[in-house]
């Protein structure tokens, strides 16, 4: 409930500043659709500091909660060797020593200037995934502040040249579940010819089958949610 409260505060600020709680339609071909002014930046930075302080308090509560630690430790284990064979991605992979993060190994502007710190664990259990998640919360909030402070002035988006010949492109970001890759092919008439969105869930779902055996039934939701996968992702 405490984390839900913090998340709702963040979503409401996003809705007020950018017009959408999840920033849908804020990115457009060639740039972004919405600008942010100095008071807006100050609000975002202020809220990120408050959330970070509260997360530290909640982490202290979590660290002292022996029964919760007991339930998380050695539950839903995926060993690093198996994780490498399955090609796990995102936070589930990083909790099993798969040190891959698109912002670190394949950075695009502005990530190459931000010196992103990758969080990893070797345990591969629910506990390790929770630890990676906590570390990433702090790093993400730092990144938000850094990006806001170094944001350049200038046009919001660049004009796009019309496409005259068939062409292809690949885009990627490190999403909350792992790397999201979208491949696009544009036909001669300037319309989309082929689009393939590649969701991290597609790669990570086999992990649930690996992580489950040997655990008690009551731990199924715990393990399942610790991977945080999308049902719809594999259908794409």
């Amino acid at each position: 409930m405490q984390f839900w409260r913090l998340k709702e505060d963040w979503l409401r600020l996003a809705a007020r500043l950018f017009g959408h709680r999840y920033l849908f339609d804020c990115m457009v071909p060639g740039g972004v659709a919405v600008d942010i002014d100095d008071p807006g930046k100050a609000e975002l930075i202020g809220l990120s500091h408050r959330i970070e302080t509260e997360i530290r308090q909640l982490k202290a509560i979590y660290d002292e909660h022996a029964t919760l630690q007991d339930r998380f430790a050695h539950t839903g284990v995926c060993q690093p060797e198996l994780a490498a064979q399955l090609g796990l991605t995102g936070l589930a992979g990083r909790a099993s020593a798969q040190a891959w993060d698109a912002r670190v190994q394949f950075p695009q502007e502005p990530y190459e200037q931000l010196n992103v710190s990758m969080a990893t664990q070797r345990g591969g259990d629910v506990l390790a995934r929770a630890e990676v998640r906590f570390s990433e919360l702090h790093e993400s909030l730092r990144l938000v502040r850094d990006i806001l402070l170094r944001m350049p002035a200038g046009a919001l988006h660049a004009p796009l040249a019309a496409v005259s010949a068939s062409c292809e492109g690949l885009g990627w970001v490190e999403g909350w579940r792992g790397e999201v890759i979208v491949a696009v092919r544009i036909g001669r008439d300037g319309r989309l010819d082929r689009v393939h969105p590649h969701d991290p869930s597609w790669r990570n779902w086999p992990l649930v089958g690996v992580g489950m055996p040997g655990n008690i039934v009551a731990d199924f939701p715990l393990i399942n949610k610790s991977f945080n996968l999308s049902y719809s992702g594999p259908d794409l």
Binding site: R5, R21, L58, A60, E64, D235
Partner: protein, 186 residues
């Protein structure tokens, strides 16, 4: 000893729950005549079974958000249940992928009468971005009867709650009946 830290945090955070919104009757697509009788007995307490029929998870994020402390669902006697057999209301998201069509019909048949259906999101209301295709059937009402349609991509938690309350409001509205048992906690 963990107790003081967690108690301090709960005390410090205080109550963030907000007053619930009024039902938005404009979201209604049909009115069931059973409403008045049911509501007299059960108030607006409602058990919801959520069905993801090919959603992108955007609507699911807002369903999760609705369960947060700001919206005080328990205080409204609204709760999510794990089976359609326990539900009064089906909350359906997604452009209704053909893989989910049979499952949705079965879930609808398994829900005891009287029942309501709320279609959530642009996809559930009209097929949205995906429309009707080889993979999707489009709007939810093309397969099962729908009482309320809550548009948005995704609808905000407030809009969703307004839609749910509209489904379980008496035919003419009146969501503020002080005698209804569902309001007893306020």
């Amino acid at each position: 000893m963990p107790t003081p830290l967690i108690l301090y945090k709960i005390f410090k955070a205080g109550r963030v729950s907000e007053a619930p919104p009024e039902a938005d009757l404009s979201l209604r697509t049909r009115v069931q005549t059973l409403h008045a009788d049911i509501l007299k007995v059960f108030g607006q307490a409602v058990a919801i079974r959520h069905i993801d029929a090919g959603s992108c998870n955007g609507c699911e994020l807002e369903i999760h958000a609705l369960n947060g402390p700001h919206y005080n669902l328990d205080g409204r006697d609204v709760k999510f249940v794990a089976s359609p057999r326990h539900a009064d209301l089906l909350l359906v998201t997604g452009p209704l992928s053909r893989n989910m069509e049979t499952a949705l019909k079965r879930a609808y048949d398994a829900t005891p009468e009287p029942k309501w259906v709320v279609a959530m999101g642009d996809c559930g209301c009209s097929g949205g971005l995906f429309g009707e295709s080889y993979a999707t059937r489009g709007k939810v009402s093309s397969v099962i009867p729908v009482d309320d349609e809550v548009p948005g991509c995704p609808p905000t938690p407030i809009a969703l709650l307004q839609g749910i309350l509209a489904a379980v409001s008496p035919a003419g509205g009146n969501t503020t009946d002080p005698d209804a048992p569902g309001r007893a906690n306020e």
